[in-house]
Amino acid sequence: MKPALLELRGLHAGYGDSTVLDGVDLTVRQGEVVTLLGVNGAGKTTTMRAITGLLRPTAGQILIGGTDITSLPAHRRVAEGICLSPEGRQVFPNMSVEENLFLGSTDPRVRPQRAQSLDGVYTMFPKLRERRAQKAGLLSGGEQQMLAIGRALMGQPRLLLLDEPSLGLAPLIVGVVFDAIREIARSGISILVVEQNAHAALGVAERGYVLSEGRIVLEGSAPELAATESIRNAFLRGDANAGSAPASAPPRAPDASSESMLEVRNLTRNFGGLVATDNLSFVVKRHQFLGVIGPNGAGKTTLLNLITGYLRPSRGEITLDGRRIDGLPPYDTCRLGIGRTFQVVQPFAEMSVADNVMTGALFARGTAAKIDEARERIRRPLELVGLARKAELPAGSLTLGEKKRLELARALATEPKLLLLDEVMAGSTHREVVELMQVLRDIHAAGTTILMIEHLVHVIVDLAQHVVVLNFGRKLAEGTPEEIVANPAVIETYLGSAPAAATGDARR
């Protein structure tokens, strides 16, 4: 067995008070390709940030070639041969392709060989040579990904870290990128690749780990992982060991009404040439708990922005209780009874928690309510989400999970009849997720209709009565949670389909 190049031992890390990594152990040996799989929010990027030194771990060790580098600053780790191709590519948009690549070799160790490295990258990605003088911001997504990988290679890595190289790329381009990864591996560089697209990643890796809620829940050889049923569970349920839903979960409320509340008909929204929402139709019934799931970039948040009026549809219509609401500004949709939380939390940081919620209670009816009245009305929402004791703290001091619950309280203070939740569980610990699920059950039981976007599929399975699955802006499937989890098309979307170009290569 080859010696270990990278070792993570009991790694803990987080942001502020919220813990993201909860004891991660992981090894990459010399010349090995290892993949780290997991859904959004599992802690994959946080692991990468800890390895590269962008985030200081709260506990645990990081070793490279047997030396402890836990306290080494990020730029010194590049000198140790750790190079990252970051999530979302992060190329410098106003610099040329070649300037981007040059910046990858600023370390004195590799600067003398800059010309050879550049040639190597251009040989691997001929597209980049063609576009060497072009601004990086004008490249296509696939080309930017090649540039990001090329920039990392310019640092002559011992260990190449790839964070979601397939993110937002068309299947064909994913194949091209993974072919390149395979070629890099052939040259003897060790690679750790973080992916949501499990099929593509397991196609190049020798071994893999599955990360869920900050812990490694599964590890094994790539063929083992690809074959196992539990990887599907890890992705769809967030728990590799549980073949079935936890027995303690209370039964879902029955799907009561047949009267439709929110209707979305043939909804389409383009951004330039990109179609974010594509001829989408579905209905939310009164008192229903509807779940919306789909991979990154499926158009889930765009859908909420269209319903609440932050975006206008290009085509199609949205009605609430029979009244057209598409194109109405957000404050009008709020006054019609739609409440919403944001995926990226938007607290009013300098205001106290109570004052944040007060704002919701004061203006939701069009004319401002009386302050004393509003003070009464915010009590219940604050208690419901468990923030009553922190009411006087500035909102900026809360943890991410608490900020998400503050958004929920603020939306509840507008007394909505339809509540739209965008990833309200993200950033919460396992215990908080369980508590929050009960809160949502209570809100629903009190008569509020809920549309919930969530990455944790097990949460949707436990809570929602009806599920809509989005992919590339279209409705992929619709049905009861049981039907959805068993649907082959959904499983393929979540695990990622093996790209045609990648399957042919027998290089592993």
């Binding site: 957000p330 404050y331 938007q346 607290p347 009013f348 300098e350 205001m351 203006f363 939701a364 507008t414």
Partner: protein
């Protein structure tokens, strides 16, 4: 209950006594002291007016626009219509409010530096306009107020003090109204505030109209005090800068901050001018004092006091 009532009564009595004292002061003061009173009171009004807009996230670099419009409207109302001082301030405030409201509508969703630059452009544009309309404004040569209408400086100073007290009262009342929540929410994140039912345009128009009217009042009274106006005085960049230095010095986004900042600003500039004589050197020291304050009291003087008190309270609680 009776103790609370008497407590409240004492507070009101104190407020009334202070107000009468302030009002009476100009009548016993020398000309120099009257100058100081007018400076401090007008800067207080300007600072509160600027801080109101800043509370809603609107950073103005053009408060001299409102000030100058107030000056010109007041002097024209006096010279052309023969209106007395108190009455001439009504059209001045109206014009200031209209300019503020119009600015809010025109700038739409502009925020931060983009809004700031458009206010700067407004002020400069008005200055050029005043030069180009000599028939109305007297052009670059300026215009004198009809001396028959002018009043004693102590009356004008007293009116400015009344205005300052009114501005303080108004900002105090506003801080107890629902709009206080809307303004702060808009400042933090306008998009998120909209989802809570806040109609941003309405609040922007309201706050800028109010802010404009207040600054125009100060400008209007000032022209009655000086009796002369020209485009350079009316739309002076210095006014704009003072209007924002005072709240930043005293404590931005607070009630007391602008008042402390205005008084401290006048004190600092007068003290350096008197003791350090030559103009250039005194300005240097004045500037240095400001830089030091901003460096070491990032939340302003009032913020520094508040933080100090909080630290002390924590220490006392820590060691009983």
């Amino acid at each position: 209950m009776p103790s609370m009532t008497s407590h409240r009564g004492a507070r009101i009595a104190l407020a009334v006594a202070t107000s009468i004292g302030c009002l009476a002061l100009p009548f016993f003061a020398s000309a120099v002291v009257n100058d100081w009173i007018v400076s401090a009171a007008s800067l207080t009004i300007l600072a509160i007016s600027w801080n109101l807009a800043a509370n809603a996230g609107l950073i103005s670099l053009g408060h001299s626009a409102f000030w100058g419009l107030g000056s010109y409207t007041a002097i024209l109302a006096a010279n052309k219509l023969g209106l007395p001082m108190a009455v001439s301030l009504l059209p001045a405030m109206l014009v200031g409010a209209l300019a503020g409201g119009l600015l809010a509508v025109i700038t739409g969703r502009l925020r931060g530096i983009f809004f700031a630059i458009s206010t700067l452009a407004l002020s400069e544009g008005l200055r050029v306009l005043a030069v180009m309309l000599p028939g109305l404004t007297g052009g670059g040569e300026g215009m004198y107020m009809n001396p028959k209408l002018r009043m004693g400086p102590e009356f004008v100073a007293a009116l400015m003090v009344v205005g300052a007290v009114g501005a303080v009262w108004l900002s105090w009342v506003l801080a107890r109204m629902p709009s206080h929540f809307a303004f702060r929410a808009m400042r933090a994140n306008e998009a998120a505030a909209e989802m809570l039912g806040v109609h941003p345009v309405r609040f922007r128009v309201g706050v800028l109209a109010l802010s404009g009217a207040m600054a125009a009042f100060a400008g209007g009274v000032r022209v009655w005090y000086g009796g002369f106006i020209d485009p350079g005085i009316a739309f002076d960049l210095h006014i704009t800068i003072l209007a924002q230095i005072a709240p930043i010095l005293g404590g931005i986004h607070t009630l007391v901050g602008p008042v402390i900042g205005a008084l401290l600003g006048v004190l600092l500039s007068e003290a350096t001018r008197i003791w350090l004589g030559t103009k250039g050197f005194s300005l240097l020291v004045y500037g240095l004092a400001l830089v030091l304050c901003i460096l070491f009291l990032p939340n302003g003087v009032w913020g520094g006091i508040r933080d100090g008190l909080a630290r002390r309270a924590r220490r006392l609680r820590g060691k009983p």
